[in-house]
Amino acid sequence: MNWLAIYPEIVLLAMACVIAIVDLFVLHPLRTPTYLLSQATLAVVAAMHIAYFQGGDTVYGMQRMVVTDPLGHLLGFFAAVAVMVTLAYSRAYAAEREMLKGELFTLSLFSLLGISVMLSANNFLMVYLGLELMSLSLYALVALRRDHPPATEAAMKYFVLGALASGFLLYGLSMMYGATGSLDIPEVFKAIASGRINRSVLAFGLVFVVAGLGFKLGAVPFHMWVPDVYQGAPTAVTLLVAGAPKLAAFAITFRVLVEGLSGLALDWQQMLVVLSVGSMAIGNLAAIAQTNLKRMLAYSTIAQMGFMLLGFTPTVVSSNTYSAANGYSSAMFYVITYVFTTLGTFGIVLLLSRRGHEAERIDDLKGLAQRSPWYAGVMAIFMFSLAGIPPTVGFYAKLAVLQAIVTTNVVGYIVLAVAAVLFSLIGAYYYIRVVKIMYFDEPVDRAAIVASREVRTLLSLNGAAVLLFGILPGGLMALCAQAVVRALAT
């Protein structure tokens, strides 16, 4: 036992239970005590992660079930911050729709706990446990507004497809167990490296593992749930689904495929190329046709995750692995910056929604530049960032990934890079269309934008961060590189 390794998780678990009980005694309509307690918990967890990250050690704990390393802590820090931002953005929205109950906070914390478990998993079983804890919390959250038919439908869809995907993943992992005789990720790695394992069983299991991961990432052809869930779920919950879980999806892809199954990299990197190109194609093309902002952002997520997956593809190039660390750290930078850009985007959607009005059609943004030049500017920054236009952070994310695949100096990868930029060109169309609607069209809805000081400050900071990391992206890039190198070294 090494309890030290899982202190952040213990704090989360304990506090989630405490908050569930404390909330029973809260009568305040805005649930201020519960809210503050949750935010404080998240802040403590984030602080613990950053402290561990600075320690920089790799520690195994709980009979090697979990590992704490800089990679997990860096992602854990960002996941905790993402949930903090999510709760802050969604509080007013949830209150107006009678969703602001203790469950919202407790389940959010439990989903973060699931994410944390996945981030520090050193065993296939832990990956699965974390995944289920996160997913079950999210299913319940999507259905939180139970008198709202689209939300209920979305929850059903999410649950059924999510269960199917978990089944795929579990089946694939059990194949791995059958072939290698271990669930421990480093053990599986060693067993495969020994070369004594039947390759066809491994490859068979791998297909299921990749399918399960593809579902969690929302990559084509396992993307069907994404648009429906994003659109159907109450926006506050969409924010939760679209934010921190993406970090977890990156982490389990890294833990399972890279740390565990990198002996099969030649097989899975080809599958990822297919998933990635498919996602960029379908995501970008389908997004053009959308009129619902949330659905458009869902397709945009699919395309962005496809781009991120490109970072995993140069693992083994010309039978060496020089490009691997470069690719993973670029993908990590991509996913972190993407999560915060998306949070901001949905933050704006929440800001424009009010009692009895869901600002979820793209047309609801019409003339935002005249209603509120400031928020229109912030939203424009998010859109240009998602489109990958400098000087926003989205450009450097794309640059990092492209750089990782172009520097392999293999023709196939360079063709892949050209395809990726052409798909982002298609993507640029629907992102700048949002800017067009905000800046060039006349407002239809002229209602004043009401928001608490907290939300306004946070949104402005979020926009400033996207711009600031665009001007000075070096620090975060270096942290990602450092974390990935540490994780690969052990």
Binding site: P390, T407, V421, I432, F440
Partner: protein
């Protein structure tokens, strides 16, 4: 902070201040702040020329700081004899355009002025950047303010024009991004343009890189057949936007040829020079003919811009000192003349809200001072000796005659066409009988309008009569560039 950083960031910072504090209620203050900012931004570029050492081709006023360590990207600025004039040109045109937008922009003035100033800083950044990625960031970032300028303050069909502008130019530059990353790899992890200049490359690699760069720069110049976005954007853009677009943004593409294509891929450039020359000659002649039949003044000037930029690319790819220097002089002169032409059209547009040639006639009767200036700029546009338009075109034509007589002869027909479409437009719009009641009621140019046009007229005249200061500064750099291009980089 170095002079170049100041030239880049002063307008951007003032733009952000205007954006944050300006309101339509205080339009008067906004105008003056914008004017002062533009003036200050122009003044800080003057010491660049004063302190410029024309005797060396090395980069001057260099600033080199670490920026993104992970990719070894540096904040590296510097100018040589070629780029220094464009820094000044950008700052000068911005000043004139701020004056032009004084009353013409009636709503969201602070955002307009801010977009102009930010755009100006970004374009100066493009001309100073010596780091490939920094160049790309500035190059792409210019799309955002221009997109907003066209889309918010443009004409009736502005949204189509804004999208076409954005996506067309983005499509070209994304391929360049892949090329930049590949060069980063090839040079062993450096984004420094000067390192790339010295980098040996095999011919097939050079060819691919050449075409990736060509995609970005040819769209921006724009060269035939990827020019179609320009005539759609110009008529919809507000006057100031058109002026900046024609005077400076098109130069970004031509400048890219000088900074990237020629020195980084010299062998491929020489190998494919015939293609660029052929496209340039088509631009000069065919687009000249297209300009002749335009019914809209702005479209006409847009086509004339494409034809004039054809001279620039033609001059570059002749690989002679005269041609290269001529191309650069033509870029500067076109900067002044095209800005002036668009501002002249803007003066009429502000009064009659039309740039159809057919809505005018006999304007000289009601606006004599203004027409005098217009005719002067029209002469410059035809390339009349004594004006800026003449010097560059003449040098390029001489260089092409030297290279091949028939090429020279073809290029020279452009002078005839240029005179034809420009003068015919002048005749129809400004001379003859007064066409209608509206023209009869026109008031002559105000002092502000005369001031902005006179500033440009002085520049046009100076460059036309005494171009020596311009050519002297660029001489060493041009010679060095040609020497560099002549040496094969195939290892």
């Amino acid at each position: 902070m170095g002079l170049l950083s100041l030239a880049v960031w002063l307008p951007i910072a003032s733009g952000i201040v205007l954006l944050a504090l300006g309101r339509d209620g205080s339009a008067g203050a906004v105008r003056w702040v914008a004017l002062l900012a533009a003036l200050a931004s122009f003044l800080v570029t003057l010491p660049l020329i004063k302190g410029f050492d024309a005797g060396t081709a090395a980069m001057q006023f260099q600033e080199n700081l670490a920026w993104i360590d992970r990719f070894n990207v540096r904040y590296h600025l510097g100018v040589d004899g070629i780029s220094v004039w464009f820094v000044l040109l950008t700052a000068f045109i911005t000043l004139v355009v701020v004056i032009a937008g004084w009353e013409a922009i009636t709503y969201r003035l602070n955002q307009y002025m801010a977009a102009l100033l930010i755009l100006s800083g970004l374009m100066v950044g493009v001309f100073c950047a010596l780091d490939g990625l920094l160049f790309y960031v500035f190059f792409e970032a210019t799309l955002i303010p221009m997109y907003i300028i066209v889309g918010v303050w443009g004409g009736p069909n502005r949204i189509y024009a804004a999208f076409k502008f954005f996506l067309y130019t983005l499509s070209g530059s994304l391929l360049m991004l892949v090329a930049l990353i590949y060069l980063y790899y090839k040079s062993g992890g450096s984004f420094d343009i000067l390192v790339w200049h010295a980098l040996p490359l095999a011919l097939p690699t050079q060819t691919l890189l050449f075409f990736a760069f060509f995609a970005a720069f040819a769209v921006k110049v724009p060269m035939w057949p990827v020019h179609t976005w320009l005539p759609d954007v110009h008529p919809e853009a507000p006057t100031g936007g058109s002026a900046v677009l024609a005077a400076i943004m098109l130069k970004l593409g031509a400048y890219g040829f000088l900074r990237f294509s020629l020195p980084i891929t010299p062998d491929a450039s020489r190998q494919w020079a015939w293609l660029v020359i052929a496209l340039s000659v088509i631009a000069v002649i065919y687009i000249g003919l297209v300009a002749l039949v335009q019914k809209d003044m702005k479209k006409l000037v847009a086509y004339s811009s494409i034809a004039h930029m054809g001279f620039v690319t033609l001059g570059f790819f002749l690989f002679s000192e005269l041609g290269l220097a001529g191309g650069i002089v033509q870029m500067i002169s076109h900067g002044f003349v095209s800005a002036a032409m668009f501002l002249c059209i803007g003066v009429l547009y502000d009064r009659m809200h039309s740039h159809e040639i057919a809505s005018f006639g006999g304007v000289v009767n009601t606006m004599p001072t203004y027409t005098a200036l217009v005719v002067f700029f029209a002469m410059a546009n035809c390339g009349l000796p004594g004006t800026a338009g003449f010097v560059g075109e003449w040098m390029v034509i001489l260089a092409s005659v030297k290279a091949n007589f028939w090429l020279g002869a073809l290029a020279a027909t452009a002078l005839v066409l240029g005179a034809a479409y420009t003068l015919w437009m002048v005749k129809r719009v400004y001379f003859g009988a007064i066409a209608n009641e509206q023209v009869r009621k026109l008031v002559d140019a105000s002092r502000r309008e005369v001031l902005m046009l006179a500033l440009l007229a002085l520049a046009v005249l100076w460059l036309g009569v005494y171009p020596k200061p311009f050519t002297d500064v660029m001489q060493t750099s041009v010679t060095e560039l040609l020497r560099h291009v002549a040496v094969s980089k195939i290892n």
